[in-house]
Assembly symmetry: D2
Homo-oligomer: 353 residues x 4
């Protein structure tokens, strides 16, 4: 797959952080979807840098230009291509990293993978910036899903050890998209922002967990063995830089649970089949059961930190110290929220066929 | 993909728990791999039921017969097909579950997915029994990997809240394959087995976590964005019934970590490039960095429990109670250890091309 | 793809001519298709060797055994696996060909492709015998198509320069499946059989063309650019050993045509949209237009001939002569007719999704 | 696949004839290929309209702008995206065709396929204009192949019944790329051009055959059954609008051949293994044998002709007459020559992995 995802709805990402442009081709979209460009811009704005204290100071308009696949405001069904021009790049910031790689980045692995020919400026194709076209593609897919009654909402579930409020199954879907900081409990959100500011003050960074919930997905989507809903979503989520874990429903907590607690008993409520609990996160045997799909992704702390770090000089083969300059988020979790929504939307639309 | 996995090495699973046979076709294997059939049988034996107190009493020889793809003891490079005949089946055990579905199983979702035509006997194609041919395919891949110096070892990391010993990076690879119970610390292993026996006595079941480590994988394997090593492994792991979470390296713990701790600094030791830590689990930017690949999978408690459960009668549309008979593991984690090894082996061989 | 075909309906072939067994896994079949096993056997019988003067004397029952994917006489929707045991093999016939390769066969290329490890007996995985499971898979797909009103009929269009009767568009579908020799005009058929006998008498072989027509395929199937109906069918047809050309509608004759003749004008006849001609073979812009799909495949003469041929000795690196023994069809075209039908059926079912 | 082709080297086409832009993303290119942009421009110029009497008068610069995937003049290994802005479009020319479809075009099938939402202007995504980015992608692949000693050369083999000179196997590779009209025998070329002019004068169009030969491809490329070199090339060739037949080596002529003539005997010449003939077109058992790969594609006459044609009015459901205006090639074969070269180059690079 490489930079192309999907079977029915195929997403082909391209671009390097400091090249001429980045973008995406979406092939296999349903024809006739009316695109609300204002909604798309709003969705993308949530990912954009420069919007808050906790985000990088690098400001980019990130307005995608659609080249094809839309006619008279609706998708044509043929490939939709959109490009975003790179502006406001400062390549000088990154020149040194081919020689003295940044810990926690793909500087070394990318160079090995591409025999030293990959574009090193700003992380090149490995840059988190490439999630902008992914987010755009997801914004389009979200509208196609909405037309079928499917909603996808993510929030910050935990950040630097601070947890957002517990949200019971009955409360889904909760959209926190309109809040500037995507949590249910604003007091906890303030504490999270305080943690980010603190890390920033120390030249450090923090990680967290994003939870994403889809409602309205019909039962019967997904297949055993290799097209399970969990597997397809996970493959996509690990495409988002910094994700190191993905879980569904009760997730890793199942390990300390017993069957009599963990099984979600089916129950008829007013003649409608539902479940007494949703520990499975909406998925049994890899197939949706009609309950909300509940997924969580763990994001590592931003690897770019300002404090001094040990690294190597690949030319001299010496161990050296590195101080990173430039503009970097002390925590990418807040900006990752719409990215996770987009990523889930692409997968669900692809699975729906 | 459905029941076919892979790009270079393709694995095509088939079979239902109580049908005539189950099996696998492996297409794209390297030609000329000498197969040690005894090793393969030994590997499969670790997954086989009926071997211990904690496993189901259903005994099946599970000896795969190779139909093609091997000539004079070596892989031919053309598809390797192997079948396992089903014997010792008791279909009567399962007849009722199309009407009164078992909580935590795919009885409902499978029926919706296949319009009621799927084979319901013993879970049909959703049965954990289909991991037998997957394990066989992995045993073949493990030998192809071993020929390149790559080893894959899994162990029980946690079971019913009991953790195995902490294993530092320096200690990899540790093989516990020859132990009857796959843990490093046998005292902890005894405690785990006690928990299983306890659950069994209460008609209940318990879950756990399997950790799997690959050593010897060269740096530079994997690709951004959608062929990350994490994403490919995760897609495969969720194919194993009961897996609800997958994480790499520090995994979900990154959420409470800060960048200065979590970054793995590169370092030259005696002229060799390595890392000071392995929080990334051997993968940076989706690409292997040469350190051990460290992955953990969370397994839910076996959904089949003997105590009474709430469920529905789909015909009468009433809420009813269900008591499951038959033979079921109170914990599948011990038998899942070789399955996880096999699953990882398939993915790694596929990624190596 | 290698030995696995398809996107929605995936066909995974395995086996070697003289190994333990050959077979196929079909993943993604619609659930609930009632299988008429007698019809399937009849369809396969048309491909089977030993049925006529023009066919190899090697007799094999070729009865596939279904291992999975069928429950109570209907497809389950999960993978359908079927195996055919190899019997009546005479491996000794082929031993020499790794050293002195047969002209026109894959003896050399197969050995290079698989580093000398491929099974050389009877052509191994390259054997025309592997079309038996392909034919079986097609027989299943034909029944799934028939349930939607789609019919696929092939015939011998030309053999050793002798052409079958011209069949105008209005006459489709003509089934010649029940005739022992699959032509419309039996006089021409007799002449063809005479040519085969003549070639056989001279220790030689002859080629021909199979035409295959599908009716009832709805308009709108296929996609630009790389999923054109022509492209998908052609990829599949070249999987049939000996096919060296594929054409649609007027085919290569378009090269000598002019636009005013070749364009198929749309026309309303009694309120129904049809075409005045079908030079396009039912496909415009890669997408079906509702007219019969018309395809022709050119088959080369059987490469195994009894007369003396020049070849090389790969060990001594000398030019030598070769006389092939064993049992070989002097013309495979008659037996290829049901194979082409099967191959088209698989592709159409896959395209229908 | 739809508008995305390939397994290792993936080509994702986008754009509509009269939209904002067209282009291509190429994922999986080898890293480090030095791109000669002048050569690429020259190759694309051969496809460009407006260059000769026989081509449409529509002039477009067709200069692709590379947005990503190239750094310091070399491929980075990450996706290479290139866009071509559409200029000089006259949408008015095509407005009527949604109501009164042009015979021989995808006006009807495209509308059915995309529920009436496809962009109808200039054929939209079905336009031959989308072969411009395909040709660009091929130009890049041709340079990657050239670095491995592989050359791909096409020529007009036949046009309106006029054949180019016979070219024996020994004469390959012959490049006629530098000639304004791509034939070996210029006298025949003049006759072909005369035929085009004649058709043009009558408001008609003519078809032809392009032959394409690749030399330097190592033996052992391709796989049975579904990744045969023939099948992969054919799937791609039918992506080129107007192709209705594809053949290899002796092609359809095998049908009138006998085995003793058609078999290509292996022979050692000065210690090098070659073949006495190349009727197989360089491919045995779907795998390259080291001889030149020889392929021919039949192109139908341009469906857009100026003389009056029968068609329908889809709104009124009446049979009507149509006179097409606008700018159209009376024969697309000359401009198709570099497109076929490009298409073959993409497939070969993909197969080489």
């Amino acid at each position: 797959m490489s930079s192309i995802y999907g079977k029915n709805v195929k997403v082909s990402l391209f671009g390097e952080s400091h090249g001429d442009g980045i973008g995406v081709v979406i092939d296999g979209l349903p024809a006739g979807i009316e695109l609300d460009m204002e909604q798309i811009a709003k969705h993308m704005q949530r990912r954009a840098p420069g919007n808050a204290a906790w985000a990088t100071a690098r400001k980019e308009p990130d307005v995608p230009q659609i080249l094809s696949g839309v006619y008279q405001g609706r998708t044509t069904g043929t490939p939709l291509a959109a490009i975003i021009r790179n502006t406001n790049t400062r390549s000088g910031d990154y020149c040194q990293f081919t020689e003295t790689p940044r810990p926690g980045h793909a500087d070394i692995t990318g160079s090995i993978r591409y025999d030293g020919f990959n574009d090193p400026r700003g992380g090149g194709h490995f840059s988190g910036r490439i999630t902008a076209p992914l987010t755009f593609a997801g914004a389009v897919c979200l509208q196609a899903l909405a037309a079928r009654g499917i909603r996808v909402h993510a929030r910050i579930y935990e950040l630097a050890g601070v947890k957002d409020a517990f949200v019971g199954d009955a409360m889904y879907p909760i959209s926190v998209a309109d809040k500037p900081f995507h949590v249910v409990d604003d007091v906890q959100g303030d504490e999270m922002q305080h943690k980010i500011a603190e890390a920033h003050a120390h030249g450090d960074s923090v990680g967290g967990i994003v939870e994403c919930v889809a409602t309205g997905v019909p039962a019967g989507v997904g297949s055993p063995f290799f097209d399970t809903v969990e597997g397809c979503l996970a493959q996509m989520m690990f495409a988002i830089p910094a994700v190191k874990g993905v879980e569904f429903g009760k997730g890793f907590a199942v390990a300390e649970s017993c069957g009599s607690e963990n099984n979600d008993s089916p129950i008829f409520v007013d003649g409608t089949l539902t479940r007494k609990s949703n520990n499975a996160g909406g998925i049994d045997g890899g197939i949706t059961n009609g309950m909300p799909i509940v997924m969580r992704c763990a994001f590592k702390p931003t690897p770019s930190i300002y404090s001094k770090q040990d690294t190597v000089n690949l030319t001299t083969k010496e161990n050296v110290e590195l101080e990173i300059q430039g503009r970097h988020d002390p925590c990418i979790v807040p900006r990752a929220v719409p990215v996770v929504e987009s990523a889930m939307a692409i997968v669900l639309l692809d699975l729906l066929g």
